[in-house]
Symmetry: C2
Subunit: 325 residues, 2 copies
C-alpha cells in the first residue's frame, strides 16, 4: 500500500517527465511553466489512492491521473485571465508573464493534452472514464461561470454558493476518486461512495480556502491575508455575513463593500474581519466544514474494502480539514 | 450513396438538434449562437463522405462528425478573441456580442462538448479516433500560434506559410477523411490516402480563401474585399509578393505595409492589388492551388473502392477549387 507521501512523490516525478520542449515553443512553454509552479496535486493523489484500495500497480494508471492535474492547471490558467489575477503561487500568471493571447491558446492546447493523458486509460474502461471526465470538465466550466455571475449579484445564498463550489472545485476530486475505483475494479456502489467522498472533501477544501484567506497565517498560507475581502469576493464568509448582519454591522459591511480605495485596503480587511468575528462567521464556516467532513468519512466508511486500506484516504481528509496552507 | 447535398442537409438538421438551452444560460447560449451562424460544414461532410465509401448507415456516425464541426467552431470563437475580430459571417463575434470572459469560457466548454461528441464513436474504434482527434486538435493550436507569430515577422517563407495552413486548416479536413475511413472499415492504406486527400483539399481551400479576399466578388464572398490587405495579413499573396518584388514594387509594398491610416484604406487595397497584378501573384497562387488539387485527386485515385463511389468526394474537391464564396 502506498502512503500519501509516496503517491505525491510519484506524481511529482512523473509530472516532471512530461515533455513540453516542443515546437512552437511559444505555445508549449507556458504549460511547463504552470506545471512547474507546484500545487498540492490532490486530484491525481485522490485518484491513485482510490485505485490503491483495489490494486497495487499504481504506476499503471499514472497517465489519466496526470490528466486530471493537467486539466486542473489549465482551468487555473484560464481563470487567471478572466479574474485578471497577476500572481499565482508567488509567481507571475501566464497572461501576465506572456500575454492574454498566449494564455488563451496555451490553455486550449493544455486542455487537449489533458485529454491525451486521459485517453491513456486502459481500453476496457476508456469510454466510461472519458464520459465521466468530460461531464466533470463541463461542470467545472459551469462552476466558473456561476462564480463570475456571483460577482455582480448581491443576493447569493449559501446554498447557491455550495452548488457553485461543488461544480468549480469538488466534482474534479469526486471524479478522481471514482475513476480510481473504476480502474481498480471496485464495484458500482464503491465507485459511487468514493465519488461522494471526493465531493465532500472538495467542499471542505474550498471552505477551508475561504477561511484561510481571512484567518490564515500569512507565512504558512503563502499569500496576503484578506485578498478575498479586498476584492469583495463572494466567499462563504461574506455571503453568510451578508445574510446574518443587521443594522450597524450590515451598514458597515455594505460601506466597505462599496469602498475600493486601495489606500484603505488594510483598514477594510481589519474592519470586515471584525464584523465576521462579531457575527461568528468563522464558527459558521467551521460548522459547515465539519458537516461535509463527517459526510466524507461516512461515505468512506461504506466503501467495501478492509478498514486498514482506507487509512490513507482518511488521513487525507483529516489533513485537508486541518491544513494551514 | 449520399450526394454532398444530402449529407449537408443531414448535418444541418442534426446540428440544429443539439440542445444548448442549458444552465447556466450565459455559458451555453454563445455555443448555440456560433453554430447557428452557418458555415460550409466541410469537415463533417468530408468525414461522412469518406465513411460512405465503405458503409451506408451514415447517420450512425453523425455524432463524431458533429464533434469535428463543433471543434472547428470553437477554434473560430477563440481565434476571433485573439485576432480582435468583431464580425464573423456577417454577425457579431461572441466576444463582441458578450465579452472576452464569456468567449473564453464558452469556448472552453465548447471544446469539451466536441470531445463528448467524438466519444460517441463506436467503441471498437474509439481509442484510434480519439488519439487522431487529439493529435489534430493540438496541431490546429500550433497552426494558430504560428499564424500569430507570423504577424510580427517580415521574413516568412512560402514553405513556412504552407506548413502553417497545413496545421491551422488542412489537418482537420485530413483527420475527418481518415476518421471516415477508419469507421467505415477502410484499410490502413486507404485511410492514409484519404488523410492526404483531405490535407491537400484543405490547402487548396485556404489558398482559395486568400485569393478570394483580394480577387473575389464582394456579393458572393460575403465580406469586404481586401480585408487581409488592410491588416497586413501574411497570406500566400503577400508573402509571395514580398519575395518577388524588387525596387519600385518592393518600395511601394513596404510603404503601404507601414501605412495603416484608416482613411487611406481603399487606396491601400487598390495599390497593393495593382502590385499583386504586376507581379502575377494571382497566377502563382492558382498554380500552387493546382498543385495541391492534383495531389488531392491522385490520392483519391489510389483509394481502393470503385471509381463511381468516389465521384462525390471528387466533386467536392472541384467545388472547393472553383468556389466563389
Amino acid at each position: 500500500m502506498y502512503t500519501f507521501d509516496k503517491i505525491l512523490s510519484l506524481i511529482n516525478t512523473e509530472i516532471k517527465k512530461l515533455n513540453w520542449s516542443r515546437q512552437p515553443i511559444g505555445l508549449y512553454e507556458p504549460i511547463g511553466y504552470v506545471l512547474s509552479l507546484g500545487g498540492k496535486r490532490i486530484r491525481p493523489a485522490i485518484m491513485l489512492m482510490a485505485y490503491n484500495l483495489y490494486a497495487d500497480d499504481v504506476i499503471s494508471v499514472i497517465k489519466p491521473a496526470l490528466g486530471l492535474e493537467v486539466f486542473h492547471n489549465f482551468t487555473l490558467l484560464h481563470d487567471d485571465i478572466m479574474d485578471r489575477a497577476d500572481m499565482r503561487r508567488g509567481q507571475m500568471t501566464v497572461h501576465k508573464k506572456w500575454n492574454d493571447n498566449t494564455a488563451i491558446l496555451s490553455g486550449d492546447v493544455m486542455q487537449i493534452e489533458a485529454y491525451k493523458l486521459i485517453a491513456e486509460t486502459p481500453k476496457k474502461h476508456l469510454k466510461e472514464v472519458l464520459d465521466l471526465f468530460s461531464k466533470t470538465a463541463a461542470e467545472i466550466c459551469e462552476g466558473q461561470q456561476l462564480d463570475m455571475e456571483f460577482e455582480t449579484r448581491t443576493n447569493v445564498s449559501t446554498d447557491e454558493y455550495i452548488e457553485m463550489i461543488r461544480l468549480k472545485t469538488a466534482v474534479l476530486m469526486a471524479a478522481g476518486a471514482k475513476i480510481g475505483a473504476i480502474l481498480g475494479g471496485g464495484n458500482d456502489e464503491d465507485a459511487s461512495n468514493l465519488y461522494d467522498f471526493g465531493k465532500a472533501i472538495g467542499l471542505v477544501f474550498q471552505l477551508k480556502d475561504d477561511l484561510l484567506d481571512v484567518y490564515g497565517n500569512e507565512q504558512n498560507f503563502g499569500k496576503k491575508i484578506g485578498g478575498d475581502i479586498l476584492c469583495n469576493k463572494k466567499t462563504f464568509l461574506l455571503i453568510h455575513a451578508l445574510k446574518k448582519s443587521e443594522r450597524k454591522n450590515a451598514e458597515e459591511l455594505n460601506y466597505w463593500l462599496n469602498n475600493n480605495d486601495e489606500n484603505l485596503g488594510d483598514k477594510k480587511i481589519k474592519v470586515v474581519t471584525e464584523i465576521y468575528n462579531r457575527l461568528n462567521i468563522r464558527e459558521a464556516c467551521e460548522e459547515k466544514m465539519n458537516y461535509y467532513y463527517r459526510k466524507a468519512l461516512d461515505n468512506l466508511d461504506k466503501v467495501q474494502v478492509p478498514k486498514a486500506k482506507k487509512s490513507e484516504l482518511q488521513k487525507l481528509a483529516e489533513n485537508l480539514m486541518h491544513r494551514i496552507d
